[in-house]
Symmetry: C2
Subunit: 196 residues, 2 copies
């Protein structure tokens, strides 16, 4: 039984580059995932959207789950440089605020991504099952929150949900990136008790 191509079975999550055809598949998949959910998106739909056949999709990724993994990995990988910068920074509050700005920036820039990454049941399961994803999320939250505890956790959950929700809300699709980013950053800092 095919355990799936395991891009990150042992190693750490990292920024990944894909070939042009693979990138086209991933872009189309992401778009469809955001609209119909992962389970609601068939390989047929992805193939049609790219303008190729199902078999051609299978040449690039030989299972649907591989596409989901690649989409998730590519998205989170984009945050790796920001995370490493924050971890290397001595000034802890500053590192925290820098990373927060980066995370919000990415959420606003790739709005469609957020619905899938944060709330799709298939992706949520994937994140919980693959250790590299888990380790990455741990690192991210360690910088953003410091220690753990129920109160901090509630804040964190509210924060990530607040950002995600605002960013993917249909009625806010027309709000320009700058406005949204500014407002989100202000409110997020308030929620985290950061006072810049």
């Amino acid at each position: 039984m095919e355990t799936a191509r395991q891009p990150l079975a042992d190693g750490e999550l990292r920024s990944v580059e894909h070939s042009a055809p693979r990138t086209r598949v991933l872009d189309a998949a992401l778009e469809l995932f955001a609209e119909f959910g992962v389970s609601g998106t068939s390989l047929q739909m992805i193939a049609a959207s790219v303008g190729i056949t199902k078999a051609a999709v299978y040449y690039q990724f030989h299972a649907k789950e591989d596409i989901v993994i690649a989409v998730t990995e590519r998205a989170l990988g984009r945050l790796v440089p920001a995370l490493e910068r924050a971890e290397a920074q001595d000034d802890v509050p500053q590192a925290r605020d820098d990373l927060l700005v980066d995370v919000i920036g990415m959420a606003v820039r790739d709005r469609r991504l957020v619905r899938t990454l944060q709330f799709d049941p298939v992706v949520v399961r994937l994140l919980a099952e693959h250790p590299p994803f888990q380790r990455f999320m741990d690192r991210l939250y360690r910088v953003l929150l410091g220690e753990t505890g129920d109160d901090v956790l509630i804040e964190a959950a509210m924060l990530s949900g607040a950002i995600s929700s605002a960013v993917m809300h249909p009625l806010l699709a027309d709000v320009d990136d700058d406005t949204l980013r500014t407002r989100l950053t202000d409110l997020s800092r308030r929620l985290l008790g950061l006072t810049p």
Copy 2:
């Protein structure tokens, strides 16, 4: 009996009662929707979960979408009394805060519900397409927010997302209802600028 065939084609959303078999199907469906998403849940899974056959499910609801509609209607219907109470209340800020407390109460009580209602692509589409759902959401937000405008909308989106996220977060599953409710209410009031 057949009260809810086309439950909301023309009329307003209201609290609905279902027969025992229908209720069993809806409960099972909701549970599965929360875990696997609507698209990731088959009628087979629902039937197996109830302990009946697919055909028996079709006797109660003659299409999968009918189940989704019924689940959504039943959930939102539970908020109707609270909404009507708030609309009848003269003291506007008080009405707003009362409704907020009710909404948070329901979110905390039926945590699994939230993921499906707020974030499942199928349900989101349903809410957008069926006028009774739209009208209900309009009424809800009118009481909670007063007027509309980008700034208020951003706050609203962040608020609903913050509540939803906190309530459905796996790491917060063990936090007891009272703690969660109290913390959520405090932070929500802060976000809305309510000062009770």
